[in-house]
Every structure is written in C-alpha cells, then in structure tokens.
Point group: C2
Amino acid sequence: MDVMATKVDNGVNVEALLGARQALTEAPEAARFKWRATCNWVNGTHSRSTVHSFFGLGAEQSHKTEFGYDADHPEVFASEDKGATPVEFVLVGLASCLTAGIATVAQNRGIQLRSVKATVEAGMDLQGILGIDSDVRNGFDGIKVVFDIDADASKDDIAALVAQSQRRSAVFDIVTNPTNVSVEVR
Amino acid sequence: MDVMATKVDNGVNVEALLGARQALTEAPEAARFKWRATCNWVNGTHSRSTVHSFFGLGAEQSHKTEFGYDADHPEVFASEDKGATPVEFVLVGLASCLTAGIATVAQNRGIQLRSVKATVEAGMDLQGILGIDSDVRNGFDGIKVVFDIDADASKDDIAALVAQSQRRSAVFDIVTNPTNVSVEVR
C-alpha cells in the first residue's frame, strides 16, 4: 500500500481483504461460497424472502441478523404494491455491487471518496412476460448505470475506478453473462 | 376462465391481467416499461438503495411508498454486515419472480395454492472477484431453486405450473441470458 493510501479512509479494510486473498490463494477450497435466499408466498404476487445463512471459508456462516424483503407487483398490475418488484431487486443488487467495488478499489488505490451515487434504469417490454409477442424477451432489454462520484481524484482516475469495479463485480457478471438455473419441485 | 377458476382465490386478479394483456396488445407502446433504482454509498461496502418511480403505460408511475434497501458485505469479508450482499438481492429477485408467477399461473389455471416456498442456493468461487484466478468467473457458477408447494393439484399439474412460471419470468430470463449493461460516469 502506498503512502497516500494510509491517509485515505473509505471504511474498507483493504489489509484484511489482501490478507484474505493471500489465504484463499493458498487454500482455494475456502473460496467456494454458497449464497442463499428463502422465499415464502404471502398472497397474490406478494412474497417475503429472507436471507440469513451462507457457506464459505469451509464452514456454515450467517449474517448478524436475518434480513427480510417483501416483493410484489405495483398497483398498475392489479397488485397491492407491498414491496419492490423482483426486477427492481436485481437493479438494487447491481447498483450496490458496483458501489461496494468502487469503495474497495478506491481504498486500495488511495483515493478518498466523498460521495458515490448510482442511478440505474432498465428497459423492459411487457409484451414478453405477458406472452403477447414471443420475440420479445421477458427480461430487461438493457440496463444503464450512471455514477455521480465526488472524490479526491482526477476524472480519469475516477473513470478507471469505475471500470475496475465493473471488472470485479459479481452482479455485473451475473447480469451480463448467462448463468445456469435449475428449478426443481420437491 | 373455467368454472373451477372462479372458486379459486390466490389473491391474483387474473381478469385485470388478461384485460391488461388485451389493452397492451392493442397499444404495444404502453408495454414499454423502465424500472429504476438509486444507490447511495454509505461507508465501506455499505450502501443504501431506494426504489420508487418507474415508467410504464406511457407515463411516469410510482410505488405507493419508497422502498429502501441496505446492502453490505458480511463480517467474514471485514465488513459490517449492515444488509444482505448484492448477490443475495439477485437471489431474492429470482425467487420472488418465480413465486409471483406461480401464483398468477395457478389462478389462471384454477389451482388453489395453500403454500409456496422457494429455497435458492447459488455457488460462487471468490477466486473470481478477488482476482486470484482469471479463469474463474465473478458471478455464480450456477443456481439451484427448489420449490415446496402445497396446492389442490396433482404433482404433474404443480410441475407444469412451475415450468410455465419459469417461461414467463423476467428475472429467470435476466439471470439465464445476457443483458447489456452500460456504465457511465457523469
């Protein structure tokens, strides 16, 4: 870490992360994580999901608390709007992943952040999910993320920060590349 | 709708949805939606996202309330665990999308649901995001969804319900197929 970095505090423990990278390089099995969510149907399109346990570092782990999320469809779809829509949860995941990455890379590069704001918008043609036109996909036709960043760095350094966060982002990869999903009924 | 369906109540207004499908077939421009999220960095890997407005039916729309979501990394990554991880938000989106679809398709097919539970697990090798091995992807290496469904229907009819929900699910499509994401710094 360079001298500048020691003066910078974005709240990210880079030494711990570099230590973890070293440890996982030596014990790659520990790097195999499993992330989980459980979703219970409530009524109509309303469900409640919980997130608590995960697996990693070779053992069962858990969050400090169980996190709960109501999802629903809005009133324009004749639903009760008890929570964000499922597709909006994906946008939250994408924005928060890129933002956490920016803070981490900034810390590693000795760049002090003052504020980071991501504005995300994704187009979706409902002719897909409503089965009107089978040539229209169900999902997003594209996602646009715009960052407003105030930091002690040049425009170029900030752009490089965002680019590196993209290259290391789990959710950016999940959204831009296909992932196999198996669905089973017990 | 058949006679059986009129006795079934999963809390989904299928008439309204079929009406919307008819209306959007006649006015496909109204089917073009835009979903949004805004994410503000808090500290370290902790961010807070909000979901409120969206565009659809040719006009600006909004949820009844603004929904807020804290995202963070867990303590095993030297973070403060103030919320679910970004990748877990994607799992919540996937599980809730398939679950809402099951309720909707069940209503349309006259199947009374009593309970629906989705258990989702996704593998992820951290050698990707930590930059240890460039052959390892950043995102999930696969996702497994298991449904436990109690409903007035045969095993085959329940399996068909889940299959149809998959075929019409926006998030299932987003996760299993690539979507273009543009990232811009303002």
